[in-house]
Subunit: 208 residues, 4 copies
């Protein structure tokens, strides 16, 4: 190709990305089980054989999808939260980012939820971040909750269901804030304050 050296090393990655994104589209529609490799390759505009030039097994693709899902948001969120001091705000920001993203990119939302409630890998990674924040908040006395487990269930639950509604288009633009507020209330934050925190402007996502 004339453009030359600059894009050569990326071609492989680009094709992989094509496959990952195609996979998400197919997963969103037919569920993760019901998605033949052929369908994914075809959706990506490639022949089925090509798939195996990029992923050794279907499993590996799923792992890649999971990874991609995480990279897309989880870390960004972690970063965007870095400057903030209040655990309540951490939770609020994370929840809103997830929900917002799910509304903007329903396919992403759908697949994230499906994987999040099924594949251990994903749920663990999501949970890990969440749990760390919750623990900190509990320790500091910011959250008043019966147990860590109950807190995790509540926050994760609202988060996932909120994403699900968001990605199926059943929600308005405020939805992210709403579920965020509800989560905070369940963590023992006073309703008025919860509402206020849930409506603060989101901090900017720092450049990678």
């Amino acid at each position: 190709m004339a453009v030359g050296t600059l894009e050569r090393p990326k071609k492989r990655e680009r094709t992989q990305l094509q496959l990952i994104e195609a996979a998400m589209r197919v997963f969103a529609e037919k569920g993760i089980g019901g998605a033949p490799v052929q369908a994914i390759a075809h959706e990506a505009g490639l022949a089925n054989g090509t798939f195996y030039n990029h992923f050794a097994t279907k499993h590996e693709l799923i792992a890649a999808v999971v990874g991609h899902l995480m990279d897309t948001v989880s870390d960004q969120i972690a970063a965007s939260v870095r400057g903030l001091d209040d655990p309540a705000e951490w939770v609020s920001v994370a929840l809103r980012r997830f929900a917002e993203k799910a509304r903007e990119d329903p396919i992403w939302g759908n697949v994230t939820v499906r994987l999040g409630s099924g594949v251990t890998d994903v749920s663990e990674r999501i949970t890990a971040n969440m749990t760390r924040d919750l623990d900190e908040g509990i320790e500091r006395g910011r959250f008043k909750v019966p147990t860590r487990q109950a807190a995790a269930d509540a926050v994760l639950g609202v988060g996932l269901m909120g994403m699900l509604s968001a990605s199926s288009g059943r929600t308005g633009p405020e939805h992210a804030s709403h579920i965020s507020a509800m989560a905070l209330r369940s963590l023992g934050i006073d309703p008025t304050e919860a509402n206020e925190i849930a409506h603060r402007p989101l901090p900017p996502i720092p450049e990678e």
Copy 2:
């Protein structure tokens, strides 16, 4: 057989039930997709062909499992709640019953959650009941929530995640009450009251 007339007419139903229960066990272990009909039939102590004397397709079995799941609890809950007047208590009782049942019968819990977050049918049926209660509470001013959708997301979310933790044995005996309390708080009930409601003794399940 000596038992005689009493069990004759039920033979067919009993076998179906065997299959449904076997299916739940296998589903809980291998997920819903990864369960060959043969495995289910074998788990039920039957030959694979027998399966098809009772269900026309695997899909039909899944539907039956769903139906069975619902019948097992949903209606009991509805009944057990009937005498109560406070929407907050309805929600609390329902949530606790689900969580408790999930702890007692982890397989049931596991399968219910998996189906509840996957199969449209189930989630709709669960949601329908929940939503009715929530609406009533919202109308009466008992719940203070941003939107119906957010309320549904919160309650359903805690419910499902709570069942999941319960059925994986990560929880203590109080867990049902805990998540119930958190749900009530997110609905705008005062923490102290929420806690009190969540710990009231469960009303007895009326005879069928």
Copy 3:
């Protein structure tokens, strides 16, 4: 049953006949291959297990159907032809009887043709009678044909196709005579005479 002794010994036979007739109905609709024993038994108003009280295998039923088909007509035809002297008339009568019967009882016609062109047993038995008549006619110089085989092909061919049209309702009341005339012409009978023979009144069927 009050009628008592007289019909007891026949009950078994009656049930068998029910099954045979049910089989013909199902065969006519779905072809002979595509007819599960269950479907046949059910069509006969019996449970599938009952089938095996009357026929040891499905094959045996088919044989019985074939036998029944033959008994119904072949022998009657043979008998009805007995008094006649002209081989041309034998052929004409046989052909017309078959076609007529097919028109009156389309199911019978349909099944006879299907079996006649498939199951060796049937075609052989049909052919045997036909061939005997043809041979006689050839020997006597009544038929002028290139070879016995060609003659058999012609007569059997018109016969089967004629039955097929008749049983699918594509024909008028004269059709039996028409194909009969055509067969005679192909056997070398003069058209005028062929026509006359084909329209003679059919001899009565003698009592069994």
Copy 4:
């Protein structure tokens, strides 16, 4: 491969043809119903899975066999008849070609007849061509027949039965002419003339 460019584009088609031809061999031996896809694939020297790279269902294969059967001859016949002016000769040529082909390629003959008298598709397509020729002959007064239906029954009948005898090796080299003559006689052609027409040399098959 050294042969190179010449055979590349045909690979897929060649495999399909292999399957179609294998199918005909198996059908001829075991009947159409009694032919497992595995058997067909194996007969074609392929794995069973490969079958489904070429035909979505077994039914689709049967359709392809039918199509292939038709293409093999029907069109050639139509073409080879094109120059001729006498409807009687059309019928004669068509009938002889079919019968001859059936003698040369018994498998083809066998399968054609089985499908022709069973599968609606085939019989219709065969009939359509035949009927057109017959109609023309009737209109022009060349054929004297009671009804179109009777004519069709006669010609189709001799044709099919003739092919059947031919493909089971019961016939001599003249058989095609013989049945052709018989058909013409049944259509009202004078025996002497019928015989003459039936023995005229077959017109050459034009290049495609």
